[in-house]
Symmetry: C2
């Protein structure tokens, strides 16, 4: 046998092994799996390096662009993944990492994910998903009912109807928002007389037919960036997402919103959708949804609520009233991979009217035939995994009261943290929590006093130094790896709407204790002293 | 303590458990996990019911639209999932299920998926993904190099460049194709003089500015339905996807393609993209990519290749020449969850020019800041899971020669099956395999003889009965649960391009043996005899 042939035979044998024989439990991969199963937190704590490397250093391990010509042993490669990937990944589940919208997962999610991956269903069609199709429809039905609270008869009629859909499951909030606008756009610019509709003829002919001088989306200036992205993709253009100013609580100013509607009407510019934000990404505030609904109704405009973050609050009977008016929305985005504690890749949009999705219906010869219940005929994505099963299991195992506790705990923890910040003379709370988010910054008491007695120009000078100090502390804290808060830049009313750099905290991890919150502040106090330029410069102004 | 309080405390305790303490190995979930780990095929075989229930029956188990008010025990719910979901799911990994593009997975994928889920990284930004960011960039680099074969210097320069991207990872081929057209559209209708570009101003103003009388996409009539969907979403309209006729091998007719380009030019209609198909969904054929590239070059049009299915063929040195010309494409879609044996939810698009993606770049205050390497600034999706790790691991463990064997085996198995069908007098091969797909139907020898001596009208009558018979056999075979082929309707040249119902077979599962292929045909022969209407009617025509 030639070397070439021998090599080929060896590869073939190992290939067959790869598809049939699992690794022994005492192999590297087997041991890792055991460790993950028995104690995920311990595994993550042991294997993720506390001290982070510079990205440029990490990149050196991922520099080769050639697909290997030699197979790796599974155990060798697993070892490689542990030292090069896992070690330098982010400990999103850590109770001290309070800057992310990604949090800890319930333990049952891991084995169930494995089951989901092992089943490898494709939810585009029944032929490759069978029971997963009604399961996903049920999950969407449950989320629809959570939002709209229609009666039993409604759900019996529509939840499993072939030509209707109560919503669409997707990979995340961006695709959910995009799907909502796609549906709204196609319903608004539908077939009419000779015009066969935008889905077939496109936006140019649609605007000509309907004789609109433009098409816009209205949202507060706290709207998520995915809205502009959606407008770009849909051919409307980013400039057509019109920002409406917010009040001091980061909520849209409804008077200005209504004025804008009137103004646009006079200009013959059609509003595709008014968007209410239920949980702004940066501060967790909720727009006055009921008032927005009034305006949308008055002007007959599609009302969308981006509740990617805040939608799960509906599971809390106590805090549900914060979202009053959401039940009047035509469409609502909710991310299950945020406050529903499901892993990455689970978003959804629900539609008030089960017939809305007809505007994006499509068919093919080999699947999605007319009258079939294939989910793919009403979704943006084609082939998709069975993530809905994880939402289904979580809704059953955690149940609504369990979710209520998680939601309530988060909000109340944020209130506690806000108090804690207010009690500390050297910190400045920037935004009060409404949900479990808040923003603040390190700002020495003496400087706070100086700020309140300064001219606008002086204030600006001080705030610029504080911005730099906030960045310094945030970066240093992240690099140290003990704890993590994120940072952003938001307009602060007390500084004449100046865009100010702040720490941003998200308190969704049920394992984050009050003690940890204390430690985060203590560490920041210490780190501030390490700043050899910004803090001395600030203090020199006194 | 009141009942209410006691209940609340119990829920709280069980919640804490849920986030910290894993199930004991001898619990239902623990046992399932063990079974999956030790023998996935056995698990699937044991738990997926062979005999399928009617969908209307299954739906009864998924009829409740109320989120439970009582938590379920994990073990109870796991038992429920096993009997209601797993039992009625589809055995996509079965070697006898040869009708899907979803196939068996290598065993190492399962524990690695669990690791991926446990790490729960969010690839939208470095802050929540760290090493996963360069890892994903490397995977895209490897796939880019597989397609374009640029030199080492090229990859060193661009693979990790902040303001460039060699491609985008996404949930699947639909989003990949959509991303490709989005990039192409925004580059074509870019900023020019007073016009700030389509991304900002939208399609209506863009077409006015550039004074085009329309925007279209050209693809063969075998193009995937996601192309029309993309055109709808992007505001171009489904009617603007112009179908070019194919030859008897399901490949686009390049003469007609060129004629259409000339015709459209005269009409002042701009072609956004010419799409070459590398692996048609229904028959697995590959367009003459090199010739299409000539035409795209001549008319200066973006050339996109939809290689969602066939792209993995590039891993085979033997069959790579079938895709000659792909290296001239401006963008290429490849699904890793198809012939790269990665689970659902892994697609990607690569771009020849690393600067192409600048046309869809976007930023936000809290992430994706200018100059950052956050992957989210150049992807359609926002939050995304770390699926790239599974592609990364597969490329290393299986390696290029391993993939070559898998690809070659699939194609050669299809050739064997085609021979087998040709040897059987009562079957009619409809499309010869080029990759590992083929189509055929049951057609008794006597009827075949009759067809060849019939008028067109008679032929049509016979073919209508054969269509019904094919549907009958396919459905019955699926319901019996022993094996599965899919069905579709394709134009058949020997019947004057009549749309004919056929069995469709995909031979990507490495565990499918020749014996299984024999059995599939035997079962179909038997099932044909069970038809009490169509077969007798057919035979009565003799």
């Amino acid at each position: 046998m030639t070397t070439h042939k021998r090599k080929a035979q060896a590869t073939q044998e190992s290939l067959h092994r790869i598809f049939t024989i699992p690794e022994a439990p005492d192999s590297t991969l087997g041991l890792i799996e055991k460790e993950i199963s028995e104690n995920l937190a311990g595994f993550l704590g042991n294997h993720i390096a506390a001290k982070e490397q510079a990205l440029s250093e990490i990149e050196k391990d991922f520099a080769c662009s050639v697909i290997p010509e030699e197979p790796s042993f599974v155990s060798d490669h697993t070892h490689h993944l542990l030292t090069k990937v896992v070690a330098q990944s982010v400990h999103t589940a850590s109770p001290s990492f309070i800057g992310h919208m990604t949090s800890a997962l319930p333990y049952f999610i891991l084995p169930l994910s494995k089951l989901m991956v092992g089943l490898n269903q494709n939810l585009v069609k029944i032929e490759t998903s069978k029971a997963f199709t009604p399961l996903e429809r049920q999950v969407i039905g449950m989320m629809h009912r959570l939002v709209y609270q229609d009666n039993e008869h409604f759900y019996q009629e529509w939840m499993h109807s072939a030509n209707h859909s109560l919503g669409a499951f997707c990979s995340g909030g961006t695709v959910a928002n995009l799907t909502a606008f796609w549906v709204a756009r196609n319903n608004l610019l539908k077939a009419d007389g000779d015009f066969t509709g935008i889905a077939r003829e496109g936006l140019f002919k649609a605007l000509k037919h309907y004789q609109y001088d433009g098409l816009v989306i209205l949202v507060s200036d706290r709207g998520h960036y995915s809205l502009k992205k959606s407008a770009d993709i849909l051919g409307i253009g980013q400039d057509s997402v019109i920002s409406i100013p917010t009040d001091e609580y980061n909520r849209v100013d409804c008077q200005k919103l209504r004025d804008k509607c009137l103004e646009l009407k006079k200009q013959n510019i059609r509003i595709l959708s008014i968007v209410g934000v239920a949980g702004t990404t940066e501060t967790g505030n909720i727009d006055p949804l009921d008032k927005i609904a009034d305006i949308a109704e008055e002007f007959e405009i599609h009302f969308h609520v981006d509740a990617a973050w805040g939608g799960a609050t509906l599971l809390s009977n106590k805090y549900r009233p914060l979202l009053k008016g959401i039940e009047r929305a035509d469409s609502v985005t909710i991310d299950a991979h945020k406050q529903m504690y499901v892993p990455m890749g689970a978003g959804l949009v629900v539609f008030k009217n089960p017939a809305s999705v007809a505007s994006i219906e499509h068919h093919a010869e080999y699947i999605l035939r007319k009258g079939s219940k294939d989910l793919g005929s009403h979704t943006l994505e084609g082939s998709r995994p069975g993530m809905a099963m994880l939402v289904y299991a979580s809704l059953h195992i955690i149940s609504r009261p369990g979710y209520e506790m998680l939601i309530n705990q988060g909000i109340e923890k944020a209130e506690y943290f806000a108090q804690l910040i207010n009690q500390q003379p050297d910190f400045e709370l920037i935004t009060e929590p409404e949900l479990c988010l808040l923003t603040y910054r390190y700002n020495p008491q003496s400087i706070q006093a100086l700020l309140s007695n300064s001219s606008h120009e002086q204030q600006d000078e001080i705030n610029q130094l504080l911005d730099k100090l906030t960045k310094f502390i945030q970066k240093r804290q992240r690099e140290n790896g003990k704890s993590f808060v994120s940072r952003t830049r938001i307009e602060v009313q007390r500084y004449q709407g100046r865009k100010t750099v702040v720490f941003r905290v998200v308190l969704a991890n049920p394992l984050t204790s009050n003690e940890i919150l204390n430690d985060v502040l203590s560490e920041q106090l210490e780190l501030a002293q390490e700043s050899e330029t910004f803090l001395p410069k600030l203090l020199s102004l006194l």
